[in-house]
Symmetry: C2
Subunit: 231 residues, 2 copies
DNA sequence: CCTACCGATCGGTAGG
DNA sequence: CCTACCGATCGGTAGG
């Protein structure tokens, strides 16, 4: 397979990234060897190293291309200046579609970005933050009160959670496909958004800090959880 | 640390699992060495191996204890026979609390269960399915029509996605803590549930299969995604 | 584009 | 004879 005509340099790189993403998604980045990647591409390991400097650069390109695509989607939808609810629904539809088309890359993004060295990882995470910020703006469009309370980002993250988790359990061959689930997710999220009651400013029953005003400022750090850093 | 009095065998095991879960969550199962686990426990590697046969058995116990706890929670809440909405809300509250108390173990569960050998992995996945089934029943309690269409499990998985994803971005020291976010998640999900419109029976505009009746049967396979198996 | 290797480190176990 | 542990090192394989 993939052995027909000699592909151009760039085509070869795309093919390698695609196969590598599949392997990383299946076995995890750390447990996948460069030998396996080479074999999956029908290349020798030395040839593989001709196209990519090292294993990390495969990981960086897979994750970076992916977040760049998502960011572009968010920007496109925002540029259309739809009505608030329509905007959010369109965002859900487009994001779900993007996931459907790049399941492997998405899994790699959510699970293996931590194995990038700090500078590269930071670039990917920065793009992620921009995506979340875009979704948060759409949320604030539907519920300005929650947006003012800085709940836009946490709510955006909850939406992200639903979508990110989908590729864990959805089977493309299942009866419920991505086109069918997207409206369900949109109904659930947009409908639910109207039902969200703002949490009370943090009461301090036993010596807790007073709320400093907004409800969730500084509470966001996508993919940099309290579990600590790596490496 | 943890060197004071000689702990009992069982206490030592619990301590090891706790430290191992933290390391696995931070660095990933594969990238964590038994030397690191031993060091984090203040033990020699040989002593670590006295308590656990091998690295996999650490992973098994971390993940299995965790799903067992979640299953127990689902069973407890179900046994109280609350009104449908109250039941779902209580489920959300209890699950979020469980996550808050075992962040590391939860991350290991969601990301590293695939590194278990098939028999152990299957035990964990089976318990996961029981948890999802329990949540699906609660969903069907609120929206019997969706339950009949076999949308209960997909919706349960969307809820799972929100909660699973939370520990990726929430900071325990943030202003919005677990107690504050749980009601937001409950509002969002329960409120959203009322807004979900059943997807139409799969139309077949260009030669697609006809829907065989219910909307999503056989579409669930938690953690066994279409990306393939490992190993 | 390949074979042949390297420094290092892996999970697991030896003798005492 | 047991358990609870130690310092040292095994055979294999990783990324490069």
């Amino acid at each position: 397979m993939a052995r027909g005509r000699a592909p151009g340099y760039e085509d070869q790189r795309v093919l390698i990234l695609d196969r590598a993403a599949l392997l990383f998604a299946r076995k995890g980045y750390v447990a996948t060897s460069m030998n396996e990647v080479a074999e999956a591409c029908g290349l020798s390991k030395a040839t593989l190293y001709h196209y990519f400097r090292d294993k990390r650069s495969l990981l960086f390109h897979i994750t970076h291309d992916n977040v760049a695509r998502l960011r572009a989607i968010v920007a496109e939808v925002a540029a259309r200046e739809l009505a608030p609810e329509a905007c959010l629904r369109e965002l859900v539809r487009r994001l779900v579609a993007a996931y459907a088309g790049a399941q492997a890359a998405h899994r790699v993004l959510t699970e293996d970005v931590r194995f990038l060295p700090p500078p590269e990882r930071e670039r990917v995470l920065q793009t992620e933050r921009e995506i979340v910020a875009g979704i948060a703006r759409a949320v604030a469009g539907v519920r300005p009160d929650l947006g003012t309370m800085a709940l836009g980002k946490p709510l955006a993250m909850l939406l992200f959670g639903m979508i990110n988790w989908m590729f864990t359990w959805m089977r493309p061959d299942g009866v419920l496909d991505y086109d069918a689930i997207a409206p369900v997710v949109a109904d659930l999220f947009v409908g639910g958004l109207h039902a969200v009651r703002p949490p009370p400013a943090r009461a301090a029953p036993r010596g807790g800090r007073r709320a400093t005003g907004s409800a969730a400022t500084g509470n966001m750090a996508p993919s940099k959880q309290a579990l600590g850093d790596k490496r």
